[in-house]
């Protein structure tokens, strides 16, 4: 008897659509996937209406890959809808898992963003300060609505229950295939599992590390010729490998680019950015005791924008979640 095909949905929140492309990046393997599964909803790659999903019954979709953060009421609506209609909801990509790059908007708020976008930018003339409203009635009495823009950016599991997490920005093809094959096999991991390694990225990295870890000066990648064999940290480059979960296959590192932490922290680490800064602080500086407080302050000024750099993908999931309003 032919096995019933899986029903897959790919839903988008606040996203750059890189995650959609990542799925297409499995190339010809998609044919094998399509033998086992039907894609029932994927607005980026095929025609779809929200009403189609709304009409579906509870748990009618087997697996939903939700990518993107939750930034407005539309994102939240879709998140809730997909949760209701899907047996398995997967937070797909760094944005859905941790807020991702979109999450960096938590350094500001709705008011500031609107002011910047609809008023302050050089190319904008908006003397009456017209900004998007959730509800607008025109002279004819027609009601037009727009999603409500939130003050904060949220990760998917801040709003709905999530079964599995597939981080990375974007997820890589092998990881996607592992994920799909596992679901097809029916041999599911426990709820809440992160579909990646449990270890830190350093465990996958083949670069040579020094015995005594010590950083005397911090460089930004454009400032030096980067040695392709040596550990970035030993070269004074801020590579977030030690604070980041493995599973990406060190693709950036192999391209001679330090890790930016898109796979998020390990399961026992609770603040990726803070932890990494903490680690750098421990090994930064010549000898602990020789430096005065003023020297140290000067030294740490070498780290530009610690918030933006170390919480690049995880700000909404960090301890402090956002910059104080």
């Amino acid at each position: 008897m032919e096995q019933e095909k899986l029903k897959i949905a790919i839903c988008r929140g606040a996203t750059c659509s890189g995650c959609d492309i990542a799925i297409l990046d499995i190339h010809e393997r998609i044919l094998a996937v399509l033998e086992k599964a039907d894609i029932v909803f994927a607005p980026t790659i095929m025609d779809a209406k929200y009403e189609d999903v709304e009409k579906m019954g509870e748990n009618e979709i087997d697996v939903c890959f939700y990518h993107g953060a939750v930034r407005d009421s539309e994102n939240e609506h879709m998140a809730r809808l997909m949760r209701e209609k899907s047996k398995i909801l997967i937070a797909f990509g760094a944005c859905a898992c941790f807020g991702g790059i979109f999450g960096l908007a938590n350094v500001t708020n709705k008011k500031e963003i609107f002011k910047e976008v609809y008023h302050d930018t050089a190319s904008t003339v908006n003397e009456d300060y017209v900004v998007p409203q959730p509800l607008y009635t025109d002279e004819m009495g027609h009601e037009l609505s727009l999603p409500k823009f939130y003050d904060d950016v949220y990760a998917l599991d801040d709003k709905v229950e999530v079964d599995y997490f597939v981080p990375l920005c974007p997820p890589i093809a092998d990881q996607i295939m592992t994920c799909i094959n596992t679901i097809v096999s029916g041999n599911l991991p426990p709820k809440g599992a992160v579909i990646a390694s449990e270890r830190t990225l350093c465990s996958e990295c083949e670069r040579v590390k020094s015995d005594k870890r010590k950083i005397t000066r911090i460089y930004r990648p454009h400032e030096i010729e980067i040695d392709e064999e040596k550990c970035f940290l030993d070269q004074g480059l801020l590579c977030m490998g030690p604070a980041t979960r493995a599973g990406c296959g060190t693709i950036c590192i192999k391209a001679n680019v330090p890790c930016r932490g898109c796979n998020g922290p390990t399961k026992e680490a609770f603040d990726q950015g803070g932890n990494f800064l903490n680690l750098i602080a421990t090994i930064f500086g010549i000898e602990d005791e020789e430096l005065s407080e003023e020297d140290l302050v000067k030294l740490f000024k070498q780290i530009k924008d610690p918030l933006g750099t170390f919480y690049r993908f995880t700000l909404p999931k960090s301890t402090l979640r956002r910059v104080k309003k």
Partner: protein, 726 residues
């Protein structure tokens, strides 16, 4: 590619039963007023007197199979009753009642402790079996002999190894000892006789350590030993036949020679012997071969002593260039053997010492040695002119008397000033220096110059044993006077191997080391109660970032088969490595990230000041405010930590996210961290973090790191008041 779907193995949830939490609250005979409602959802018992034996037993019993929260007096006082067991202390006497805070504060403190303990592993005492009940004493000088003697007297087998052909060490080469000028034989000969007379001591002279493996209670030592010649005829003829002449600190001898210590036989100095075989021709029994011996011991005494700093490095004094510039040992040996009869001698104290170009430190005993040599010269030849150039006379304690005697009764001339150079003047020497007291430059014409060069350790053995050193001396002895800390490697350092010492100090010290060894080896197990860090191998795999290796002050975090591991014998439980790990793979038992974070969440209320206080210093200062009737704002909540080095970014950020308006981290004074550098690491983290929290819109000045010593209760109060008023 290791991207796999891996099942989450939650190691934390113990299989089967989750232990229950029991809360005991002591009112200290109604001294502590409790809040009206106490409901933690856990079994809660109010006790009146924690010092009663029955109560202590009851709590101990409860701690065997449940998590126990004990709220009452400071843990500093309570810990002694509960050396073992899984008890989380809450200080509601010193930190609430005695500082006049409202009873309600007790609730948040206890809630925090409950939450912490639910997320912590049990602290279990480490028991390390003492497999070998024997000791190795390295060095056959005064320190080694005295240690060996005492250990053996307790019935413990001792292997005594000496790299030279004869026992006696530096003292064996001296003529006399200060302050009285007693001949060395008074000390050395009875000591050697005692050692030889004890069957528990096996002596290996002409032997060196080849390999050291193992650890506490179970060392495997391989030594390289070269034959002692006890048997054989015509040994005196062998000496005559030996073609190698050696300058043995001022005395000319052959490589084949005799010394009246032990063994009572001619021996070969293998460091000079060329194995020419001339002696073997006369006496075929002589063996020039070396053999290896392997020994199993439970403890090691390092009594490797000291040697002179290489005087030829001090260019301006011409040692090695002029024959009549001598080191202290050379002079003493030549003079007392009658090889030289000088009319005048200049003794230069601190030669190359307390000098950044040469030896940066003071060797402690040279001033007395200088006085001894001056007295020796005057005793033998009263007409000889003796000058002593010095920077400061450091004849501490009763040695002042020796100084006065030498100066006043013996007429030795003391000149304050470091000589700038020594030049040849016919067959004499001209010593140029400034006389600081007279304020003019002087020149002294003399037959001999004696350099009081400093001492350096006579071995690189400590590095081999993994003991941190500074200038070759063990750091712990150089920097501190702590003694209660366990001896994690069962390596004891006796005598001048720890730092330069005189004979009487060396003997006291050697006895102390012997006592340590004996105390350890008579036990079946060495028990360590310090919680240790552990590495979660699910997260930290092979090699990984290794940053915690550099952070550990004890070398306890190391690579074992390419895996980061913690040696529980060496780990002192400071948590510096735990705070360093960015992956949460390294956790200090009893002080884990999860535990600390839940304690913070449950303790902190909106507007609080959270103070992380080091248990060695600042925590006691906060306790002291209570004794002194001082107070501080009610919203100051205190969390006790092993070291400021344990506090990491997660904990600080969690405090802010839980509502704290300020965070204080306070620990030991700068150079006095119990774990050497924990406080400096904490300071670096705090300074780095200030930048970050400022970006988060939090006032960076609300995050403070302070050094608050254990007596500085007033400073503690000032600091928290300042934070509160901001």
């Amino acid at each position: 590619m290791r991207t796999v779907l891996k099942k989450i193995r939650n190691k934390r949830v113990k299989s089967g039963s989750k232990p229950q939490t029991k809360v005991f609250i002591c009112t200290c005979k109604n001294e502590i007023i409790l809040p009206n409602e106490l409901d933690f959802g856990e079994e809660t018992t109010i006790i009146e007197d924690i010092n009663s034996k029955d109560t202590i037993e009851k709590i101990k019993k409860a701690a065997l199979n449940s998590r126990v929260i004990l709220a009452g007096p400071s843990p500093r006082i309570m810990e002694k009753h509960f050396p073992e067991g899984n008890i989380e202390f809450v200080n509601i006497r010193e930190h609430v009642s005695w500082v006049g805070h409202k009873p309600d504060k007790i609730i948040s403190l206890i809630s925090g402790a409950i939450a912490k303990q639910k997320n912590s592993e049990n602290i279990e005492a480490k028991k390390i079996p003492i497999k070998n009940k024997s000791a190795l004493v390295i060095g056959g000088g005064i320190a080694g002999l005295e240690s060996a003697r005492h250990i053996a007297k307790a019935g413990i087998k001792v292997f005594l190894i000496e790299k030279e052909p004869f026992l006696g060490g530096v003292v064996g080469k001296l003529d006399r000892l200060y302050p009285e000028g007693t001949p060395n034989s008074h000390t050395l000969y009875p000591l050697i006789n005692e050692v030889l007379g004890n069957e528990n001591i096996k002596i290996y002279t002409n032997s060196e350590i080849e390999q050291i493996e193992g650890g506490l209670g179970d060392y495997k030592i391989i030594i390289k030993t070269k034959g002692n010649i006890i048997e054989g005829k015509n040994l005196r003829k062998c000496e005559e036949a030996c073609p190698i002449s050696v300058d043995d600190d001022g005395i000319e001898r052959k490589a084949f020679y005799y010394m009246p210590t032990y063994p009572d036989s001619y021996c070969i100095d293998f460091s000079s012997c060329t194995k020419c075989g001339e002696c073997v021709k006369i006496c075929p029994e002589i063996s020039l071969e070396e053999k290896t011996v392997s020994l199993n011991v439970g403890a090691i005494v390092v009594a490797t002593g000291l040697k002179d700093y290489d005087a030829s490095l001090i260019k301006e004094y011409g040692y090695g260039k002029y024959d009549n510039v001598l080191t202290k040992l050379q002079f003493e040996r030549k003079f007392s053997s009658g090889l030289i009869k000088p009319e005048s001698v200049v003794i230069i104290n601190c030669a190359g010492q307390r000098d950044q170009n040469y030896l940066p430190y003071c060797s402690r005993v040279c001033c007395m040695i200088g006085l001894k040599e001056a007295k020796l010269i005057k005793d033998v030849s009263p007409q000889t002119e003796v000058y002593v150039n010095y920077i400061d006379m450091r004849s501490y304690g009763s040695f002042e008397e020796l100084y006065n005697t030498v100066r006043e009764q013996y007429g030795v001339r003391f000149i304050q000033g470091r000589p700038s150079e020594i030049i040849k003047d016919d067959d004499k020497l001209l010593v140029r220096s400034e006389d600081i007291l007279l304020g003019k430059n002087i020149e002294i014409k003399t037959d001999y110059v004696v350099l009081m060069t400093g001492f350096v350790p006579d071995t690189g053995l400590l590095d081999k044993l993994g003991i941190p050193t500074e200038n070759g001396f063990p750091t712990e002895y150089v920097n501190s006077s702590r003694s209660v800390d366990s001896n994690p490697k069962s390596v004891f350092i006796a005598g001048a191997a720890a730092y330069p010492k005189g004979v009487s100090e060396t003997i006291t010290d050697a006895r102390e080391a012997a006592q340590g060894v004996t105390e350890l080896l008579i036990q079946e197990h060495a028990v360590f109660k310090t919680p240790t860090a552990i590495i979660n191998s699910d997260i930290c795999g092979e090699i990984d970032c290794r940053i915690c290796l550099s952070a550990c002050p004890y070398g306890a975090v190391y690579l074992k088969d390419e895996k980061v591991s913690v040696n529980p014998e060496l780990c002192m439980g400071c948590g510096i490595c735990t705070a360093t790990c960015a992956a949460g793979a390294n956790q200090l038992i009893g002080c884990e990230d999860r535990g600390m974070l839940s304690q913070i969440t449950n303790t902190v209320e909106e507007g609080d000041i959270l103070a992380f206080l080091c248990k060695w210093s600042s925590y006691n200062a906060a306790d002291k405010t209570g004794y002194e009737g001082l107070s501080y704002p009610e919203n100051v909540k205190i969390i006790r930590i092993p070291c400021t080095g344990r506090v990491d970014a997660q904990m600080i950020l969690k405090a802010y996210s839980s509502g704290a308006k300020s965070v204080l981290i306070a620990g030991c004074p700068p150079d006095a961290c119990h774990y050497f550098t924990g406080n400096f690491k904490a300071r670096k983290r705090v300074i780095a973090l200030r930048e970050l929290i400022e970006q988060f819109g939090i006032n960076p000045k609300s995050l403070r790191i302070e050094w608050i010593g254990k007596e500085e209760s007033k400073r503690f109060v000032d600091v928290v008041n300042e934070l509160n008023n901001k």
